[in-house]
């Protein structure tokens, strides 16, 4: 692993994003608009807004980074630049870490912006410190990035990559406990929920925002989130082949 190559890759990815101001605007503004919509939707039922606003805020970066990464990595595979990089003195982990660094930075900006709006203007409360929410959002973004990286290996076209979002992300949103508390789920649904990384990301956010609970279960949540991130990155690295047929 080379720090120089990792930084070079991160700078390159950020430069590419810089060339695409519309994507940056969408990445930064869409979560803000959505949280505002949520605020208006539960105008008279503040308790619901308080309950789901915090966790949602931390899940936006996960979803957007999943999409952005799977498309960007697919492009890199299809355009031949990945093959070119594999002929250079660059470790696979340098490429992945470079991507992670660039997107984590973007996620931090995204999470900070939506937090400022939600906590500052919409009256969203959090029991834990607000920086903890931003930090969780960034770690979720890196989780989304690593998942996106992994699934990009299974897509041949951008259409397919986009379809991984409803296939891969939506079931996790449904089962993470946001719509129905996990305790009320049928046994088999809870079994599936137990096996999905979103469940732990959501639980950590919900503990941090609503109860300010940084207990053993919170530690487990964090451990699972980081563990799955590392696992997905390792699996993603194994899909970057130096030699192809």
């Amino acid at each position: 692993m080379s720090v120089r190559a990792t930084f070079a890759t991160a700078v390159r990815v950020l430069n590419q994003l810089r060339r695409d101001p519309r994507t940056i605007a969408l990445l930064l503004l869409v979560p803000v608009v959505l949280i505002f919509l949520l605020d208006q939707l539960f105008h008279d039922r503040r308790q619901i807004f308080q309950q789901i606003g915090g966790p949602l805020l931390g899940l936006f970066p996960l979803i957007t980074m999943f999409l952005v990464t799977s498309i960007t990595m697919l492009r890199e595979r299809v355009s031949g630049t990945l093959e070119r990089l594999m002929a250079l003195p660059l470790a696979k982990i340098d490429v992945l870490a470079g991507y992670a660094l660039a997107f984590a930075l973007l996620a931090a900006v995204q999470a900070t912006l939506v937090s400022i709006v939600a906590f500052g203007f919409l009256g969203l409360h959090t029991q834990g410190p607000s920086w903890a929410v931003v930090l969780l959002a960034v770690s979720n973004a890196v989780l989304g990035m690593s998942l996106g990286l992994f699934v990009s290996a299974f897509a041949r076209t951008e259409f397919q990559a986009i379809q991984f979002m409803p296939a891969f992300i939506f079931p996790q949103i449904l089962l993470c406990g946001l719509f129905t508390p996990r305790a009320q789920m049928a046994g088999w649904l809870r079994g599936i929920s137990d096996a999905l990384p979103f469940t732990y990301a959501y639980d950590a956010l919900s503990r941090a925002t609503q109860r300010g609970l940084f207990d053993g279960r919170f530690a487990l949540d964090l451990g699972v989130t980081i563990g799955v991130t590392v696992l997905a990155l390792a699996l993603g690295a194994s899909t970057l082949r130096r030699r192809t047929g």
Partner: protein, 245 residues
């Protein structure tokens, strides 16, 4: 005392009984050849003859079924070679959403080359005045030159260039061939593929490939003598047809 260092005249590339299958089809079969150091070797043949596959194998990004390739005295694709071998892919492998300079700077950082090397290679490929332009806005020939520039960064000992002059105007083509010869005079080894036979006269040595097999080798004069034709285009047609019969 015995000097174990390779003689300066030792070939840079030695291919021995190489066999490669792509998509179930045998593309190269029992191919053996050598590429001399400090010379420009032209790899010629009709499209689909296996030129790109051979080059991919030499730079170590192609899965090889059997046989060996030694590059600068080491098995092809080993990590130290990634510093010493410059590779230009057939389709320009550069980032379309970056400027010319940003692209080259990225490659320079990975190769730990001095920042000035970017200006040098820009000069070599006559793209200095386009340094600030986004690659997507360039013509096909200009994009090919950026891709060539990425291969020149870090002044590698061996250059593997896959159709570097395709789509370029005659003046530029002449200039590039002049550059290739100058690089060889400085001691670099160049393997340059082309399907345009009239470029063969710019090379010191020729390798003529047809359907994955070597049909002729030697200097342009040798090839003329072998075929009994003065015009290289006709010489190759004779040699290719001889093989068929």
């Amino acid at each position: 005392m015995i000097d174990y260092r390779p003689m300066p005249s030792a070939p840079s590339i030695v291919v021995d009984k190489l066999r490669i299958r792509r998509g179930g089809v045998i593309v190269l079969d029992d191919l053996s050849l050598a590429v001399a150091s400090g010379r420009v070797t032209g790899l010629l043949g009709p499209s689909g003859s296996g030129k790109t596959t051979l080059m991919r194998a030499i730079v170590g990004v192609q899965i090889v079924e059997s046989g060996t390739i030694a590059v600068l005295g080491e098995p092809a694709g080993t990590p130290p070679l990634r510093w010493k071998v410059g590779y230009m892919t057939q389709n320009p492998a550069v980032y379309g959403d970056l400027t010319v300079r940003e692209n080259l700077r990225y490659f320079a950082r990975i190769l730990d080359a001095a920042p000035e090397s970017v200006d040098e290679v820009l000069e070599t490929v006559a793209m200095t005045s386009f340094a600030g332009r986004v690659v997507n806005k360039l013509s096909g020939g200009q994009r090919a030159r950026v891709s060539l520039a990425t291969a020149l960064i870090g002044s590698p000992e061996l250059l593997v260039l896959d159709e570097p002059t395709v789509g370029l105007d005659p003046v530029l083509r002449r200039d590039l061939w002049k550059t290739f010869n100058e690089l060889a005079e400085q001691g670099k080894t160049l393997l340059v593929s082309s399907h345009v036979m009239d470029e063969a006269d710019h090379c010191h040595d020729l390798l003529l490939l047809r359907e994955g097999k070597l049909v002729a080798t030697g200097s342009p004069a040798d090839v003329r003598a072998q075929s009994g034709k003065q015009d290289l285009d006709e010489a190759f047609l004779v040699l290719i047809n001889e093989e068929v019969e």
